[in-house]
Symmetry: C2
Subunit: 138 residues, 2 copies
Protein backbone atom coordinates (compact mmCIF):
# COMPACT_ATOMS: atom_id res chain seq x y z
CA UNK A 1 0.00 0.00 0.00
CA UNK A 2 2.40 2.61 -1.21
CA UNK A 3 1.05 6.10 -0.79
CA UNK A 4 0.73 8.19 -3.89
CA UNK A 5 1.66 11.77 -3.23
CA UNK A 6 1.69 14.29 -5.94
CA UNK A 7 3.15 17.64 -6.39
CA UNK A 8 1.37 20.29 -8.38
CA UNK A 9 4.77 21.62 -9.38
CA UNK A 10 5.85 18.31 -10.81
CA UNK A 11 2.63 18.03 -12.80
CA UNK A 12 2.99 21.57 -14.04
CA UNK A 13 6.58 20.99 -15.21
CA UNK A 14 5.71 17.81 -17.05
CA UNK A 15 2.71 19.40 -18.74
CA UNK A 16 4.71 22.44 -19.69
CA UNK A 17 7.58 20.51 -21.23
CA UNK A 18 5.16 18.06 -22.79
CA UNK A 19 3.68 20.92 -24.75
CA UNK A 20 7.17 21.88 -25.89
CA UNK A 21 8.64 18.64 -27.13
CA UNK A 22 10.89 20.47 -29.54
CA UNK A 23 12.64 22.50 -26.92
CA UNK A 24 14.73 22.21 -23.86
CA UNK A 25 14.58 24.49 -20.86
CA UNK A 26 16.79 25.16 -17.88
CA UNK A 27 15.65 25.00 -14.27
CA UNK A 28 15.54 28.76 -13.99
CA UNK A 29 13.65 29.15 -17.26
CA UNK A 30 11.07 26.74 -15.93
CA UNK A 31 11.01 28.63 -12.67
CA UNK A 32 10.30 31.88 -14.47
CA UNK A 33 7.64 30.40 -16.73
CA UNK A 34 5.91 28.84 -13.76
CA UNK A 35 5.88 32.14 -11.91
CA UNK A 36 4.35 33.85 -14.95
CA UNK A 37 1.64 31.23 -14.77
CA UNK A 38 0.91 32.27 -11.21
CA UNK A 39 2.53 29.24 -9.61
CA UNK A 40 5.27 30.31 -7.25
CA UNK A 41 7.64 27.58 -6.26
CA UNK A 42 11.03 27.93 -4.75
CA UNK A 43 13.84 27.27 -7.21
CA UNK A 44 15.00 24.43 -4.96
CA UNK A 45 11.62 22.79 -5.40
CA UNK A 46 11.99 23.04 -9.16
CA UNK A 47 15.36 21.32 -8.94
CA UNK A 48 13.95 18.57 -6.78
CA UNK A 49 11.02 17.92 -9.05
CA UNK A 50 13.26 17.92 -12.09
CA UNK A 51 15.44 15.33 -10.40
CA UNK A 52 12.43 13.16 -9.70
CA UNK A 53 11.20 13.44 -13.26
CA UNK A 54 14.63 12.51 -14.60
CA UNK A 55 14.72 9.52 -12.24
CA UNK A 56 11.32 8.47 -13.49
CA UNK A 57 12.65 8.82 -17.04
CA UNK A 58 9.97 11.31 -17.92
CA UNK A 59 12.52 14.01 -18.63
CA UNK A 60 16.01 13.95 -20.04
CA UNK A 61 18.78 16.12 -18.66
CA UNK A 62 21.30 17.44 -21.15
CA UNK A 63 24.37 19.57 -20.91
CA UNK A 64 26.39 20.54 -23.90
CA UNK A 65 29.63 22.39 -24.54
CA UNK A 66 29.53 26.07 -23.91
CA UNK A 67 26.51 25.88 -21.63
CA UNK A 68 26.74 26.34 -17.91
CA UNK A 69 23.31 25.02 -17.08
CA UNK A 70 21.52 21.73 -17.43
CA UNK A 71 18.63 21.63 -19.84
CA UNK A 72 15.57 19.46 -19.53
CA UNK A 73 13.65 17.89 -22.29
CA UNK A 74 10.37 15.98 -22.44
CA UNK A 75 10.81 12.27 -22.83
CA UNK A 76 7.89 10.02 -23.67
CA UNK A 77 8.02 6.33 -24.56
CA UNK A 78 6.31 7.02 -27.87
CA UNK A 79 8.97 9.53 -28.81
CA UNK A 80 11.69 6.87 -28.72
CA UNK A 81 14.15 9.48 -27.53
CA UNK A 82 16.50 6.83 -26.26
CA UNK A 83 16.99 5.40 -29.72
CA UNK A 84 17.60 8.43 -31.82
CA UNK A 85 19.93 11.40 -31.79
CA UNK A 86 18.93 14.95 -31.12
CA UNK A 87 20.03 17.93 -33.10
CA UNK A 88 20.21 21.02 -30.94
CA UNK A 89 20.29 24.48 -32.39
CA UNK A 90 22.91 26.47 -30.56
CA UNK A 91 21.12 29.69 -31.37
CA UNK A 92 17.45 29.12 -30.55
CA UNK A 93 17.69 25.91 -28.55
CA UNK A 94 15.31 24.05 -30.80
CA UNK A 95 15.47 20.29 -30.72
CA UNK A 96 15.13 18.14 -33.79
CA UNK A 97 14.46 14.49 -33.16
CA UNK A 98 16.52 12.54 -35.68
CA UNK A 99 13.84 9.97 -36.29
CA UNK A 100 14.85 8.85 -39.75
CA UNK A 101 16.20 5.71 -41.34
CA UNK A 102 19.56 7.39 -41.62
CA UNK A 103 19.86 7.22 -37.87
CA UNK A 104 20.26 3.47 -38.01
CA UNK A 105 23.01 3.82 -40.59
CA UNK A 106 24.93 6.03 -38.22
CA UNK A 107 24.78 3.68 -35.28
CA UNK A 108 25.49 0.66 -37.46
CA UNK A 109 28.52 2.33 -38.97
CA UNK A 110 29.88 3.39 -35.61
CA UNK A 111 29.53 -0.12 -34.26
CA UNK A 112 30.79 -1.97 -37.30
CA UNK A 113 33.67 0.27 -38.30
CA UNK A 114 34.68 1.81 -34.99
CA UNK A 115 33.48 -0.68 -32.41
CA UNK A 116 31.60 2.16 -30.79
CA UNK A 117 28.20 1.68 -29.24
CA UNK A 118 26.45 5.01 -29.15
CA UNK A 119 24.37 6.15 -26.21
CA UNK A 120 21.80 8.42 -27.82
CA UNK A 121 20.52 9.74 -24.55
CA UNK A 122 23.75 11.52 -23.77
CA UNK A 123 24.77 12.40 -27.29
CA UNK A 124 23.75 15.53 -29.07
CA UNK A 125 24.69 17.15 -32.30
CA UNK A 126 25.01 20.88 -32.00
CA UNK A 127 24.67 23.31 -34.85
CA UNK A 128 22.30 25.69 -36.57
CA UNK A 129 18.74 24.83 -37.47
CA UNK A 130 17.24 25.81 -40.82
CA UNK A 131 15.58 28.95 -39.51
CA UNK A 132 18.60 30.27 -37.65
CA UNK A 133 20.83 29.46 -40.60
CA UNK A 134 18.55 31.51 -42.83
CA UNK A 135 18.57 34.39 -40.38
CA UNK A 136 22.33 34.43 -39.95
CA UNK A 137 22.90 34.29 -43.71
CA UNK A 138 21.64 37.84 -44.19
Amino acid sequence: MAKEYHSKYKTWILDYLGERKDSRLSASEIHTAMAKDGLNANLVTIYRNLDRLVDEKKLNRQKISGEEENFYQFLAPDLHCTSHLHLICSKCGRIIHLNCEFMKEISDHLLADHGFQIDCQDSALVGLCRDCRAKSAV
Copy 2:
Protein backbone atom coordinates in the same frame (compact mmCIF):
# COMPACT_ATOMS: atom_id res chain seq x y z
CA MET B 1 57.03 44.85 -31.38
CA ALA B 2 54.74 42.60 -29.45
CA LYS B 3 56.53 40.95 -26.59
CA GLU B 4 56.49 37.19 -26.44
CA TYR B 5 56.04 36.00 -22.92
CA HIS B 6 55.78 32.39 -22.16
CA SER B 7 54.54 30.36 -19.35
CA LYS B 8 56.17 27.08 -18.48
CA TYR B 9 52.77 25.89 -17.32
CA LYS B 10 51.16 26.60 -20.65
CA THR B 11 53.93 24.77 -22.47
CA TRP B 12 53.66 21.84 -20.11
CA ILE B 13 49.89 21.56 -20.60
CA LEU B 14 50.13 21.66 -24.36
CA ASP B 15 52.91 19.08 -24.42
CA TYR B 16 51.05 16.83 -22.03
CA LEU B 17 47.78 16.90 -23.97
CA GLY B 18 49.66 16.70 -27.25
CA GLU B 19 51.02 13.34 -26.14
CA ARG B 20 47.48 12.24 -25.34
CA LYS B 21 45.52 13.12 -28.46
CA ASP B 22 43.04 10.38 -27.81
CA SER B 23 41.98 11.62 -24.45
CA ARG B 24 40.46 14.54 -22.71
CA LEU B 25 41.34 15.78 -19.26
CA SER B 26 39.78 18.12 -16.76
CA ALA B 27 41.54 21.09 -15.19
CA SER B 28 42.02 19.26 -11.93
CA GLU B 29 43.33 16.13 -13.64
CA ILE B 30 45.87 18.30 -15.40
CA HIS B 31 46.70 19.99 -12.12
CA THR B 32 47.35 16.65 -10.47
CA ALA B 33 49.42 15.29 -13.35
CA MET B 34 51.49 18.44 -13.39
CA ALA B 35 52.13 18.19 -9.67
CA LYS B 36 53.26 14.57 -10.09
CA ASP B 37 55.73 15.85 -12.65
CA GLY B 38 57.15 18.20 -10.04
CA LEU B 39 55.60 21.35 -11.46
CA ASN B 40 53.43 23.01 -8.85
CA ALA B 41 51.03 25.57 -10.23
CA ASN B 42 48.00 27.00 -8.57
CA LEU B 43 44.76 25.58 -9.93
CA VAL B 44 43.76 29.11 -10.92
CA THR B 45 46.83 29.29 -13.09
CA ILE B 46 45.85 26.04 -14.78
CA TYR B 47 42.43 27.51 -15.54
CA ARG B 48 43.95 30.66 -16.94
CA ASN B 49 46.36 28.81 -19.16
CA LEU B 50 43.61 26.51 -20.38
CA ASP B 51 41.55 29.56 -21.28
CA ARG B 52 44.44 31.01 -23.24
CA LEU B 53 45.03 27.76 -25.07
CA VAL B 54 41.36 27.50 -25.97
CA ASP B 55 41.43 31.10 -27.21
CA GLU B 56 44.45 30.26 -29.33
CA LYS B 57 42.54 27.26 -30.68
CA LYS B 58 45.21 24.89 -29.51
CA LEU B 59 42.82 23.10 -27.20
CA ASN B 60 39.15 22.33 -27.38
CA ARG B 61 36.89 22.59 -24.36
CA GLN B 62 34.10 20.06 -24.11
CA LYS B 63 31.32 19.42 -21.67
CA ILE B 64 28.91 16.59 -22.08
CA SER B 65 25.80 15.38 -20.31
CA GLY B 66 26.38 13.82 -16.96
CA GLU B 67 29.71 15.56 -16.45
CA GLU B 68 30.16 18.42 -14.07
CA GLU B 69 33.53 19.53 -15.32
CA ASN B 70 34.92 20.85 -18.55
CA PHE B 71 37.30 18.60 -20.40
CA TYR B 72 40.17 19.72 -22.57
CA GLN B 73 41.42 18.06 -25.67
CA PHE B 74 44.42 18.65 -27.90
CA LEU B 75 43.59 20.39 -31.13
CA ALA B 76 46.10 20.62 -33.95
CA PRO B 77 45.47 21.95 -37.46
CA ASP B 78 46.60 18.64 -38.95
CA LEU B 79 44.04 16.77 -36.88
CA HIS B 80 41.16 18.59 -38.57
CA CYS B 81 39.20 18.41 -35.35
CA THR B 82 36.90 21.16 -36.46
CA SER B 83 35.63 19.11 -39.37
CA HIS B 84 34.93 15.77 -37.85
CA LEU B 85 32.94 14.40 -34.96
CA HIS B 86 34.40 12.90 -31.84
CA LEU B 87 33.25 9.73 -30.22
CA ILE B 88 33.74 9.86 -26.49
CA CYS B 89 33.75 6.77 -24.35
CA SER B 90 31.70 7.46 -21.28
CA LYS B 91 33.61 4.85 -19.34
CA CYS B 92 37.29 5.45 -20.04
CA GLY B 93 37.11 8.91 -21.58
CA ARG B 94 38.87 7.81 -24.75
CA ILE B 95 38.36 9.97 -27.82
CA ILE B 96 37.92 8.55 -31.28
CA HIS B 97 38.34 11.01 -34.10
CA LEU B 98 35.68 10.20 -36.67
CA ASN B 99 37.95 10.83 -39.61
CA CYS B 100 36.23 8.69 -42.19
CA GLU B 101 34.30 9.23 -45.39
CA PHE B 102 31.11 8.42 -43.56
CA MET B 103 31.50 11.65 -41.65
CA LYS B 104 30.71 13.64 -44.77
CA GLU B 105 27.60 11.57 -45.35
CA ILE B 106 26.36 12.49 -41.92
CA SER B 107 26.80 16.21 -42.34
CA ASP B 108 25.41 16.13 -45.87
CA HIS B 109 22.34 14.25 -44.73
CA LEU B 110 21.72 16.61 -41.82
CA LEU B 111 21.95 19.61 -44.09
CA ALA B 112 19.98 18.21 -47.00
CA ASP B 113 17.21 16.43 -45.15
CA HIS B 114 16.97 18.43 -41.93
CA GLY B 115 18.36 21.83 -42.86
CA PHE B 116 20.77 21.45 -39.99
CA GLN B 117 24.34 22.67 -40.18
CA ILE B 118 26.39 20.75 -37.68
CA ASP B 119 29.08 22.35 -35.58
CA CYS B 120 31.53 19.52 -35.01
CA GLN B 121 33.50 21.39 -32.41
CA ASP B 122 30.65 21.35 -29.94
CA SER B 123 29.11 18.06 -30.90
CA ALA B 124 30.10 14.75 -29.42
CA LEU B 125 28.76 11.28 -29.61
CA VAL B 126 28.86 9.53 -26.29
CA GLY B 127 28.90 5.80 -25.84
CA LEU B 128 31.14 2.84 -25.19
CA CYS B 129 34.39 2.19 -27.03
CA ARG B 130 35.34 -1.27 -28.23
CA ASP B 131 37.49 -2.08 -25.22
CA CYS B 132 35.00 -0.94 -22.61
CA ARG B 133 32.21 -2.71 -24.42
CA ALA B 134 34.20 -5.94 -24.30
CA LYS B 135 34.90 -5.48 -20.61
CA SER B 136 31.31 -4.72 -19.68
CA ALA B 137 30.03 -7.71 -21.66
CA VAL B 138 31.50 -10.16 -19.17
